[in-house]
Amino acid sequence: MQRIGVFVCHCGSNIAATVDVSKVAEMALMEPGVAHAEDYQYMCSEAGQAKIAAAIQEKGLTGIVVCSCSPRMHEATFRKAAERAGLNPYMVEIANIREHCSWIHKDMEEATKKAVILMRAAVAKVNLNTPLQAGESRVTKRALVIGGGIAGIQTALDIADAGYEVDIVEKTPSIGGRMSQLDKTFPTLDCSACILTPKMVEASAHEKITIYTYSEVEKVSGFVGDFTVDIRRKARSVDMNKCTGCGVCQEKCPSKKAPSEFNRGLNTRSAIYTPFAQAIPNVPVIDREACIKFRTGKCGVCSKVCQAGAIDYEQKDEIITEKYGAIVVATGFDTIKLDRYDEYAYSQSKDVITSLELERVMNAAGPTHGHLERLSDGKAPKEIVFIQCVGSRCADDRGKPYCSKICCMYTAKHAMLIRDKYPDVNVTVFYIDVRTPGKNFDEFYRRAVEQYGVNYIKGQVGKVIPKPDGKLLVQGSDLLDNRQILKEADMVVLATAIEPNPDVRKIATMLTASIDTNNFLTEAHAKLRPVESPTAGIFLSGVCQGPKDIPETVAQAGAAAVKAIGLLAKDKLMTNPCTAHSDELLCNGCSSCENVCPYGAITYEDKEVNDHGIRETRRIAVVNNALCQGCGACTVACPSGAMDLQGFSNRQIIAEVDAICR
């Protein structure tokens, strides 16, 4: 029989205002096995923990129940406190009477009743708890960064600078990401390339960093400290070791009609290409779908012109398997598709473009070589309209419910840059709200208005009508003047919502990292653990976690790196002792459990057993505790009940069920 102590926390008034805490403690004393019960203001405080320790020692408690906030909050705290007092930390159970009770119920009587039942369930469980010992697992001192944009580069640099090996896996032929596509950056108007390129070079030159471009993560197995990852290196058709990056092949390539991804499809590129001049690595790839050699078997021009003999049409995809201790996701974002926003005539007129397309138009390396011109006829625009919140803050399924966060600022940037370079161009911005929280952000926006005379109109655009003469008729509302505006424009720029890179879902599934309804990766805690995934060993960097601008991305990238470094710096990790265990006398050896184990933690042995005097050799399931993560899938697959989960045993859960239904 256990001697259980029950500790009821007031949590200030968080619990005590709706739950009669002393009544809960009083009722606890009625429960079988309960030898001590008390309530206190803040159980998690030092004084509260001291009370627990004192009770454990004075009353010789063998298990404790803390009725407090969610175990996700303080289970670890109380386990540590119990351990310090000499109790096995797994003899602690938490009854969640805050998040699951006091915070959601208003009626004191009702909430108290529920709190008592939750306490009983926890007591019933502790009655069946057994002391568990955590095992140890090793840490592979190498990190993987998925995504080679500014977030991934920064994280990799920070981890590498701390002395750990880092691999970057980038899907496209070059690192650089979205930032490489930008022209200038707010709020200081630095040239994007000027600040990014040095980082790219630094990363590629860093002795601790290995960059796999044109590569994708194929398979992830293992767990924190010991992940095994398969990386697919797609066939580049160019030997990276031989290529000198002279660029002749690209010049001579007869197939030049493939849309340029880098320029958002606004112009074309050759079939053998590097996405942009500063690409790293500066080794082209052959787009096999566009390449004449691959399509028809004839051509081979690039191979002929390549002095280095680097062209290799026979190259095949290659799978590299590598072990990592930590994985950082930095998969970034893309703009949403606009096919469901017909009212803005994006698909009807070449002169309606997204802001990211405008970045390319404004960029010297872009399709117009940096000249602001209409993509339909090349004429210089005189009247430009910006529309904000296209697809952001949208309650229906056409767009995204969240604010994309960066659009207000980059629109101000664009407006300002245009007015600066082309003072005769009128710029109008239709906005719903202008959101500028950030250092020097509002000042930046005000400059656009006050210094550059950008015309900000509070109101949304209802539709954009392409006119036969090539002009665009913008119909919007001016809510402050309470009038409807019809405005002729030469160009319309849409501040298109951003969304997580669509590949992130696949990656999250491989990593078993959770993802929210908008495909942003979920952080372990919204406030306190913003760069960690709830899955141990997985960290989040950049927009994959939520919309953010460059400074924030870089800051988060650094934070993710620190978390990863903190993990890699450890030699060993304590493993979760709540693992599955097979009762060899009940095991049939039928393999049902093995078939559902996601970690391959179950194997079979022919073992001699002594079943109440009957000695025979049986095929028996054996669980590898280092691999088992304690999901419990096997326990239900097992028909005989031989497989059970420590810490969440069948009898413990049944005891909870019984206590709740009683």
Partner: protein
Amino acid sequence: MPLEKKEFKPKIVAFCCNWCSYAGADLAGSSRLTYPADVKIIRVPCSCRVNPMFILRAFEKGADGVIMCGCHPGDCHYSTGNYYARRRMTLLFSMLDYIGVESGRTRVEWVSAAEGVKFSETMNSFVEKIYSLGENVRLGDLRCKN
């Protein structure tokens, strides 16, 4: 029928996986999104830990409704747990329906850690359903009824 009809207060057991749904319930709590106190949550590591025996046990001991919540398919912390749970529960619930237990008494809902609102809405609608179905008289051991 006794003259004084006791007010029906259902007993509802909710199995929540530790990583998504339990966290979703926490979020509902910290967002102060209310749902009836009839719901009591049992934390399990994963929805795949929920044995049909637990569900029948709950009914045996007098539960009026049992709901299981897990991560959305594809988001399981253990990669595949909820897929197995989904098949198991589908078959179990179908069997219960087959023997004449109202299908509304059992439910599976996928609730992520970010879906406090969904958790609260789910519990509200489930409890409402159980109130409309009334006391569970088809499953359950009579000795547990008083």
